[in-house]
Symmetry: C2
DNA sequence: TTATTAATTGTCCAAAAAACACTTATTATT
DNA sequence: AATAATAAGTGTTTTTTGGACAATTAATAA
């Protein structure tokens, strides 16, 4: 086999920033590092890119190993290449972020990785440059969520308007007017009102909604405006 | 030295999507591949990541080798990892896009690479997955340009409103109303009117403008709205 | 029956965006 | 010297969108 000569070959890893929403706050799924050096420290779930594996396959594999889930929304965040980001040996990392329905996850958890959910505001000290990855992922999530209907990926199939609003509020760390929020979301025509109500979270009960799947797929990349004063988003 | 065991090490390359604007259309700077296999075919400018080089250093080095330019606007686009994207040997590529003032370039060109500018709509067949990179870069450029004052990076220090509008029109492949365009751009307060005019492109002459550097840096990440009906942008 | 809690719904006002056309400066032509 | 041609520059009106704001309703608990 022909190869390129005199060039440095480098380890390539994938790290996953896994977001979940428990109904009141945004959370991050972390694991305790299994490999030596910093073993036991909190870390993003990751792994090396395998011989015959591209990034999409690799990130899906890594996510599935931990959560058991497939078909999850994932998106490439950034490639990180600082020379000494991994003190053991130079390793380039391609970071992906994933949005999962936290309840789905709970059914399938793989306990072998000593995983834990952490509120995004109480993330423990992470190894390497993982905190930088998390920060970038949070920012990108905000950015996308401001204009694209991406946050539904964090919710179960049926959800209520108050739940949806809590989600947006926790992502943007602020409060919205519920009348305007409702009107704005309804105007996207992405929501289909159900006949049943969620009666757990209040006396009156809140109507469930589902996504209009067709419209959702069609509008996923379109520009909508989900939040007030988007001029403040970075 | 400790190393990770039994893992595949992979070549890591950087490829640069270099945009320029000649006053009427958006162009791409391409080179003729110097390495064997597909030698002489058109390609993005690229190179392997070196032993003690991170991505920012590497992309800056590669851009400088070709154009002689430093301090150019560059941004990471995406990492490409298909197993067979390079038929010689598996190579992961981190793509960066660069925006340069095409006139600056002309002064500094390195002829050794057999480079050429191509109108974005008449790009020749490219090697490997470079066309995919170009497509993604075009899309990202549009996306950013719709909300951030990024296109000034393609213009010389002094430019006119008609030039600026042509640039936006060529990026978005459409026509804008000049009254609304002017008002919108002026309202950003990023433009400082000069006393002299560009008399080459019309009888009446068009006033030159410069960027208000301070405001520009301050507003670079802020959300502005540069184009009508942004809802259509992908 | 009343109090409590949270969901639901509508109006008004302000700001932004889009549609739209005429005047001006300059040069070339007659 | 007058006129035609070209592209730059400038304002107004209308429409749409976004944001501020409060009363009503459904259900349960006291």
């Amino acid at each position: 086999m022909i190869r390129y000569h005199n060039q440095t070959r480098i380890l390539v890893a994938i790290d996953c920033i896994i977001f979940g929403f428990d109904g009141s706050e945004l959370k991050l799924l972390l694991v305790q590092r299994g490999l030596e050096y910093e073993k036991g420290k909190w870390s993003l779930m990751g792994g090396f890119v395998q011989k015959n594996e591209d990034f999409e396959k690799g990130s899906a594999r890594i996510l599935k190993e931990l959560t058991g889930l497939e078909g999850v929304y994932m998106e490439q965040l950034n490639a990180f290449g600082d020379v000494t980001r991994d003190p053991i040996e130079r390793t380039v990392s391609v970071a992906y972020f994933a949005l999962i329905d936290i309840h789905q996850y709970e059914k399938q958890i793989n306990t072998e990785f000593h995983a834990g959910w952490f509120p995004i505001k109480e993330v423990p000290k992470l190894i390497f440059d993982h905190q930088e990855m998390v920060d970038m992922a949070k920012q990108k999530l905000r950015y996308k969520a401001a204009f694209h209907p991406i946050l539904f990926e964090l919710l179960p199939e049926k959800f209520t308007l108050p739940q949806l609003q809590s989600l947006y509020e926790s992502i943007f760390d602020t409060q919205f007017d519920k009348r305007n929020f409702s009107r704005k979301l309804q105007s996207t025509k992405l929501l289909v009102k159900q006949k049943d109500k969620d009666r757990d979270s209040s006396k009156k009960g809140a109507y469930y909604y589902k996504l209009d799947k067709k419209r959702y797929e069609k509008n996923f990349h379109a520009f909508l405006n989900f939040i007030p004063n988007p001029g403040n988003i970075k």
